[in-house]
Symmetry: none
Subunit: 193 residues, 4 copies
DNA sequence: TATGAATGAGCGTTCATTCAT
DNA sequence: TATGAATGAACGCTCATTCAT
């Protein structure tokens, strides 16, 4: 019976997540309303809050999941041997992260949280990003005078900077890649000064 | 006549700004309510919206002004000759920027906007930051293999990264300075790799 | 459970309606403020708008209810056998309809709507008025060369005309009855021309 | 000088009226905003209120003028010799009166005001309507057992009734004419009962 | 007359969240 | 768990009208 109950619980939760994704497909993350989610899931509003602490918790889960999917993909790639390769590897994830101002803002609220005990889906992805990059950086023709971790944090800092520019009317996706290349070349390439 | 009218307008606007600052002193930026502002300013609510598009517009003005004041101060300083000096110079402004999560979030919405025609008070402060740092970087014992502008953008990227960490439970003000030093040393110091 | 929930809903709605009526007793229909209603009902403002589309929807309900009460009363009366009797029967309702310029205006917005599918409380009362009068007209010493329905519509048209005169500074309640008698005699009395 | 000043005054007033008509052509009577009128007229808001007691005063003037134009036209017609002719004569004016719900409402606020000392442009038009119709009724093959004035008031009452039906989704312009014919036949035609 | 900034009361709305059942 | 009515604090907005200059 407990097992059955748990099964129902999981089903309800899955229904809510599916409904939320469907809503997002229609109106975007920004436009998501709890009301619409529960309506589509066919459950009561209270049920939503029995499954998610608050709306933000759902958002974090949804966005975090998407990022994790991108990271799964990224982890299958061989360690990039150039800044261009690294940019290529990161681009899909960065494009998702900038698909909506709202999404970027949510993610930003957790940036830097990588080093925190803080356990949230998005925060964890920052840790994963750092980890992936550490493995890459140790393994490629990149700057070696500072720790791979610090280097990775720098890549993250520059990613954020590059992404932030997307939301300027004057910049577009092409710029995102160009910026990244520019930044990472300056940050990662062992040049003699 | 037009001048007289404009004078009254400016006075009212000044009253609103002063009232807003007073409210913020009491309840913080986050806690500011339009209602309280107009009450304290002794003007009608409609007057508020005749002067500011919405609450956010006021916020941008207030926060932007504060940042500009810090930049005024910063511009009086001699060009820093070390990463420590540079960090010292930037710290007061960064501390303000991280005084409240809300303030940081507002600022972030305009980060990267430096390069934009986009005219908002905060956006312009990003441009000023870049300009100040360009003058510093050209003038100090810093990396010279890339343009001062790119270097400045990097400083900004790392500042954001360092500030974002403040909002992790695990970090505090001391860390802000430490992080900045760490990042800027790695970014600005001409080391042989 | 659904029944219980509905019960609470009905109670809240009843509280709002009662509060609204109390407010009207004090300040009139014109003076009714949503704020005062919710305050007196002891519910949140949001609750009001969960029950009524807007203030006008409440007004229609309240005024429509009052008219229906008058019609209930009217329906208990025997079919009038003279224009005077008919006027007597209609007077209380017409006096309510002209108790406030605001009330009359609200009602007018729905006049003629009798024949409409349009479902609003006030609109339906127009239909009831017609029905009552049809039964009267078929049953009394009134003109018979045209359909009772057309005759009833004419009574309505003349009622409106007579009521509209009330809002002329020069006219008063006495005139309302006098006008009605004059009009109805001309409209309903089988005279040889 | 006084004459010059008066000339300027009249010009400004004319500019305001012209601007108002232009605004109405674009957004309808309902959509007219004093702000738009003064903007288009190139005068200050205060000037508007120096020329018109309030917005309603302007509206009354504009709508009243239009009605008077229709009445001018109507007065050139020969006295109608049938209900159909009478309906034809009145239709253009009635169509204008029902061009917008707002216009009809404004007019209604003055209906019945014909008999009032009350001096407003629209109120006066009601008087003119009555006068025109009195001359018609005395002069045609219409009911004669009651005064032409009372008969005219009845025509007005039925006109209002017919026009009110226009604002029911279920009715249209064709109905307006059909209704009028129906009503006026019942009211004006000397039939033996 | 003309100006136009200021008024100001109130409406409608929002929507995540709570809580009694 | 599930329900869903109720919450409630603000915000934005409206826009005719006033009044000091």
């Amino acid at each position: 019976m407990a097992r059955a109950a748990q099964k129902r619980t999981l089903e309800t939760r899955a229904r809510l997540v599916a409904a939320a994704n469907a809503v997002i497909d229609e109106v975007g993350y920004q436009g998501l309303r709890v009301e619409h989610v529960v309506l589509r899931a066919g459950v009561a509003k209270g049920t939503f809050f029995a499954h998610f602490r608050d709306k933000d918790a759902l958002m974090e889960l949804l966005i975090g999941s998407r990022i994790n999917t991108f990271l799964d993909q990224i982890e299958t790639l061989p360690a990039p041997q150039s800044v261009d390769d690294m940019t290529d590897a990161l681009m899909p994830m960065m494009q998702f992260m900038t698909c909506e101002r709202y999404v970027f803002d949510v993610i930003m609220r957790y940036s830097g949280a990588a080093a925190c005990e803080d356990i949230g889906t998005i925060a964890t992805t920052f840790g994963r990003q750092i980890d992936v990059m550490i493995s890459w950086l140790a393994d490629g023709p990149f700057r070696k005078d500072i720790s791979a971790e610090l280097l990775a944090e720098g890549v993250q800092a520059f990613s954020v900077q590059a992404m932030a520019l997307i939301f300027c009317a004057l910049h577009n996706e092409t710029d995102l890649r160009a910026r990244m290349t520019l930044y990472l070349n300056a940050w990662l390439t062992p040049a003699s000064w």
